[in-house]
């Protein structure tokens, strides 16, 4: 088995009487595409937010690339090599596509003061152009991000997550609201990136076809706890998973 890049131990989060995440532990291995699925209200998003510094868990710890990442702010987690996308559209609408991508990489170049006195693009335009081409957004490079279609903004959001060369990319419902053609292209690009760069992915998604055809391993969450783990084939035939989804 490959190296562990993320280790989640006994993470719990409670909101009043609701146990949103209940003592969840799992590991993420280098180069894998891990799917995290579960019915609505199963605690996926809360768990994601706990891992990504948006929500402070009540208990538990997270280790990323050998560093204790518990309680770190999202910006520090990003510096540790975590890229992420959001469920809602999260681009900067009044900045061009190019500026969105450069912003996603600039904080990893030089110190705060060298960035003030250095080149306006922090020397990132060629790298940003490569990524824009990879996601086939060249024709929109100089457009305002807010003028792009929903699916194009989702692609841009994903491209931004890749700009800083992260070791782990966490994708929060990347397929939501994206048409089938674009979704197919997006999936193919994720696979290519995974193969070419060895980047690890953790994907939260409702679209079963997308998860089962993309992921190498799947975790199933129900009522805040992990109820199943395995390959996509194993998960699809797991009675507990079927019951959780169908309310059996």
């Amino acid at each position: 088995m490959s190296n562990k890049v993320m280790s989640v131990s006994n993470v719990s989060k409670r909101y009043g009487a609701i146990q949103a995440v209940d003592d969840v532990s799992f590991d993420v291995y280098e180069g894998e595409i891990l799917g995290l699925i579960g019915p609505n209200g199963s605690g996926k998003s809360t768990l994601f937010n706990c891992l990504l510094g948006q929500t402070r868990p009540d208990n538990g710890s997270v280790e990323i690339n050998g560093h204790n990442a518990s309680g770190l702010s999202p910006s520090k987690l990003n510096k540790l090599g975590i890229g992420r996308t959001f469920q809602q559209l999260s681009v900067f609408p009044e900045m061009t596509v190019l500026d969105n991508i450069i912003l996603a990489g600039q904080e990893h170049h030089g110190s705060m003061f060298s960035r003030l006195f250095g080149a306006p693009d922090a020397g990132l335009t060629p790298e940003a152009d490569r990524l824009i081409a990879f996601f086939r957004l060249e024709h929109l490079r100089d457009e305002m991000a807010g003028s792009l279609s929903y699916g194009q903004q989702k692609l841009l959001d994903a491209a931004m997550a890749f700009m800083a060369g992260p070791s782990i990319v966490m994708l929060d419902e990347p397929a939501g609201g994206v048409n089938l053609t674009m979704l197919g292209n997006f999936k193919e690009r994720l696979r290519t990136f995974n193969k070419e760069h060895g980047t690890t992915f953790v994907v939260i998604e409702h679209n079963m076809e997308f998860v089962m055809s993309l992921c190498t391993r799947v975790l199933v969450l129900a009522n805040g706890a992990i109820i199943a783990e395995g390959t996509p084939d194993e998960i699809m035939n797991n009675q507990m998973v079927i019951d959780a989804y169908l309310g059996g």
């Binding site: 999202p74 904080e107 705060m112």
Partner: protein
């Protein structure tokens, strides 16, 4: 080859150089005020227009700049409030630094509160500053204020006369614009905009939103301090009322009317707020009403300010209609 934008900038600069020629002292004084308030409003534009942090404290930062400069440049007095008799070139950086540090401190509440709550915090700071200036008369002269701040003398160029002080202010204005432009187009400027548009996303991309928020306040406040540092020798009389809340509101108006988030928006806004009432004086008692009505109409019909209005008109007049990059090829994605 000079770009169209640079040609416009050059034309603007030439217009600013020619504007006071042949004019009386009052007109030159008004033009000086316009440039000085433009700088303060550009500072506020960085905090509000670019970084999205509302502030009603810009007049307080002007006060810090003006009083610091006054106390440092006034000659020592045997009785009453005197100063240290330093040159403006020494007093100005100290004044700007003082405003920067206080702005940094005022930025801390912005890490916890947003929107109208933040507006109230900064409003309270302006009121507090006003009260300190009024009550601590051993230092500030209280309601009588401070009088007789010298205008800077550079040996080869004495700014004592109104026209000379105008050109001195214009030189400071040009240097200030270059510095601000450098900040706005740097990665810092991009981070300020990201903070305004989506702070959670910005943080997830490694932007230290705490630091950027504090810097947005501190740099904007420093610009207010610089403006204050020029007001003291321009007017040669300052008192707490010169920096009351109404002046913060005026600067907010300058930013909004000119176009928040546009580099030269506040310069145009300051022109409207300071120069338009002068142009409307011929209407006698009606000028304030006409002025207020114009501002209301402008804000309702053009929320992006006068620069935004200019963009709308320019787009309407364009013969070659621009389409989004993918529309001429059909949606490929």
């Amino acid at each position: 080859m000079m770009t169209k934008r640079n040609m416009w900038l050059l034309a603007g600069l030439i217009a600013l150089i020619l504007a006071p020629l042949g004019q009386g002292n009052y007109v030159v004084y008004t033009l000086c005020s316009w440039l000085i308030f433009s700088m303060a409003a550009m500072g506020l534009n960085l905090t509000l227009g670019y970084a999205g942090q509302i502030s009603l404290a810009q007049s307080a930062f002007m006060a810090i700049g003006a009083y610091t400069t006054a106390l440092l440049t006034l000659p020592p007095a045997e009785d009453g409030v005197g100063g240290l008799g330093l040159h403006w070139l020494v007093a100005m950086p100290i004044s700007v630094f003082a405003a920067f540090v206080v702005g940094l401190i005022i930025g801390f509440p912005a890490l916890r509160v947003k929107g109208h709550f933040l507006a109230f915090v900064t409003l309270a700071f302006t009121t507090l500053t006003f009260l300190v200036l009024r009550n601590e008369d051993w230092l500030t002269g209280g309601t009588y204020g401070l009088v007789g701040m010298p205008r800077p003398d550079f040996g080869f160029f004495n700014t004592g006369k109104q026209l000379r002080f105008y050109y001195f202010t214009l030189a400071v204005f040009v240097v200030f614009c270059l510095l601000m432009w450098g900040i706005i187009r740097s990665p810092w400027g991009r981070a300020f905009k990201a903070l305004r548009e989506n702070s959670i996303r910005a943080e997830s991309l490694g932007v230290d939103t705490r630091r950027i928020t504090l810097l947005a306040f501190a740099i904007g406040s420093a610009a207010g301090g610089l403006a204050g540092s020029l007001v003291a020798p321009l007017v040669q009389f300052i008192e707490p009322g010169s920096f009351a809340l109404v002046h913060s509101l005026k600067m907010l108006l300058m930013v909004v009317v000119g176009g928040a988030g546009f580099f030269f928006g506040p310069v145009i806004g300051a022109g409207v707020v300071i120069l338009m009432p002068e142009f409307l004086r011929f209407t006698e008692g009606y000028y304030l009403m006409i002025y207020a009505a114009t501002v209301i109409v402008l804000i309702i019909f053009c929320p992006k300010g006068l620069i935004g209005l200019g963009e709308i008109i320019r787009n309407k007049l364009r013969k070659d209609k621009k389409v989004r990059g993918d529309m001429d090829k059909g949606a490929q994605l």
